[in-house]
């Protein structure tokens, strides 16, 4: 199994190939489009995270001792970043998730999207990802 750090490194290397923001954004838009759609039954109001402008849904369940996240957004660029975040965090141990940061977002030049003042709901989503990890970790112990 790849560690969170390994995956982050992988992503950073991938993005290093892009020459400008256009390529980066095109790639993210692709990612956004190809993100498996969240199960309709989890696309509920209780799983919604409201940014000012784009809605974000997030859901998690435990399989063995690993957390499987699914998530979605109505904005495609937001969804692209979600795809990256899920690639990093999904199918990992809750304790590893809790220990991890999201510094790779900076390194691939998307820092602005995770600014706490950004009106896209991503910051709250990451908080929610971690909340799930806390909840399920308690369950495991």
């Amino acid at each position: 199994m790849k560690t969170i750090a390994n995956i982050q490194k992988e992503i950073v290397d991938e993005f290093a190939l892009f020459e400008d923001w256009m390529q980066r954004y095109e790639y993210m838009i692709e990612l956004g489009k190809s993100l498996p759609i969240i199960d309709e039954k989890h696309r509920t109001d209780s799983n919604i995270i409201k940014g000012c402008q784009s809605k974000v849904w997030v859901y998690a369940e435990l399989k063995k001792d690993k957390l499987i996240y699914t998530a979605d957004s109505d904005a495609i660029i937001t969804k692209g970043i979600i795809a990256l975040l899920l690639r990093v965090f999904s199918e990992q141990h809750p304790s590893d998730i809790l220990a991890a940061d999201t510094a790779f977002i900076d390194e691939i030049g998307l820092k602005e999207h995770l600014s706490p003042t950004r009106a896209n709901g991503l910051v709250s989503m990451i908080k929610q990802l971690k909340m799930y990890a806390i909840a399920y970790q308690t369950q495991i112990n």
Binding site: M22, I29, Q53, D74, A75, I77, T78, N120
Partner: protein, 404 residues
């Protein structure tokens, strides 16, 4: 006539580069940019005569007081108020509306009615909702048509002898619609209702004559008027302001204070508790002078040409829909593009140096009416150009290729 080259030179921020591109600033309805004369006046204030006003015997205090009171007179003249003490300095439109709404807490009674329009900014909704909660008064909403125009007959039909207050925007910030305030005022006045006009979006574009229009209350924001942030105006007819209780207590707004009793000061001080935004008030005066040097007529004509050009160019884009197509509009274009989220388009435009606003524009009821989550809004000012509109239109086409 607009000397666009000269004017653009007056605004230092227009030289800004964003992500390698020249800034194209089309977010003027949110906050307008600041000409050098206004920046210089702020600089001058803090470098030469910064001082607390109204009570100081010394020179700096006199200079600051005189400049502040001169700014009040500039506002009085610009809007043609009868008295300078009818001009209250506030911290912005929101504050101005709240002063009025709070003031009616003990005047309104249960089942009295307040009429708003469906296209109000949240700042012209929430204070009245709070007033209704305090008093038991009832909010009535005048509807609009699919073009974003107020349906005057519907307004007339709900305006009645129960109507105590009417609060309506002169210009809608989300759609650009110019409301028929003359008719609204005459209908309301014939029902003995008092009318507050939210001029936040009108004052930068339209010459307003408060006396001729017989407006009861009028509010504006400095930061949308080429002025600084944190300052605005509440105009009220003398008679009304004298009747309205002060909303805040403090220094400046009292004549005498003992622990038993306090005597309120005369207008305008009654509504200006505490040390105001002195630099802001003075610089707002400078901003108004700057606008008048260019001239409201030239501005209106020029901005109309920008609006027409942008509208026709945008409508060339397939799947693009404009919200707000009233005949009477300021230079605001609110639109959406089929299967593109406003946020996504906003992000790509930003990368290309173009600042537009996306979302509900603090006017959720409008979005609910059109059943959309939000729009992309480009709002123009007299320092914008057709070339900039071309840049935006091309950028939208490019973004569309990426996003769809």
């Amino acid at each position: 006539m607009i000397d666009i080259k000269k004017i653009r030179n007056d605004f230092p921020i227009l030289k800004r580069k964003i992500n390698g591109n020249q800034l194209v600033y089309f977010d003027n309805a949110a906050t307008s940019q600041t000409p050098q004369v206004v920046i210089d006046e702020i600089l001058n204030y803090y470098s030469n005569y910064n001082s607390n006003i109204h009570r100081g015997v010394h020179k700096l205090s006199q200079e600051a007081t005189d400049a502040y009171e001169k700014a009040r007179q500039i506002l009085q003249l610009n809007f043609n108020a009868r008295h300078s003490h009818e001009i209250i300095f506030t911290s912005g439109s929101t504050h101005s509306i709240n002063i009025v709404a709070a003031g009616y807490s003990n005047i309104l009674k249960k089942d009295d009615e307040i009429i708003l329009s469906v296209m109000e900014h949240h700042s012209n909704i929430v204070p009245w909702q709070m007033l209704c909660e305090r008093t038991g008064a009832i909010l009535r909403v005048a509807p609009m048509d699919q073009n974003g125009g107020l349906i005057l007959e519907e307004f007339e039909s709900i305006c009645c002898d129960k109507t105590q207050l009417v609060a309506i925007s002169h210009v809608s910030n989300a759609l650009g619609t110019i409301n028929p305030i003359e008719s609204i005022l005459s209908i309301a006045h014939s029902n003995n209702a008092v009318v507050l006009i939210d001029g936040a979006q009108a004052a930068p574009h339209i010459k307003i004559d408060l006396q001729e229009l017989d407006i009861d209350y009028y509010v504006v924001s400095g930061h949308k008027l080429m002025g600084p942030t944190g300052v605005g105006m509440l105009y009220g007819k003398e008679k009304l302001l004298n009747m309205l209780p002060p909303s805040q207590g403090g220094g400046e707004m009292i004549d005498e204070v003992t622990f038993e009793k306090t005597i309120y000061a005369k207008l305008p001080h009654k509504f200006e508790a505490g040390t105001p935004n002195i630099a802001g008030g003075i610089a707002l005066g400078t901003a108004i002078n700057y606008i008048n040097e260019i001239g409201y007529d030239s501005i209106a004509k020029y901005e109309k040409s920008l609006l027409d050009y942008a509208t026709s160019e945008l409508l060339e884009i397939e799947g693009l829909k404009i919200y707000g197509q009233s005949k009477q509009k300021t230079a605001i274009v609110s639109f959406s593009i089929k299967s593109i989220h406003a946020y996504d388009l906003g992000v790509i435009l930003d990368k290309l140096g173009i600042a537009v606003r996306t979302g509900h524009h603090c006017a959720q009821p409008i979005m609910d009416y059109f059943q959309i989550p939000g729009t992309i809004r480009a709002s123009f000012s007299f320092y914008n150009t057709k070339e900039e509109i071309d840049i935006m239109v091309n950028a939208i086409k490019r973004a569309k290729l990426m996003l769809v």
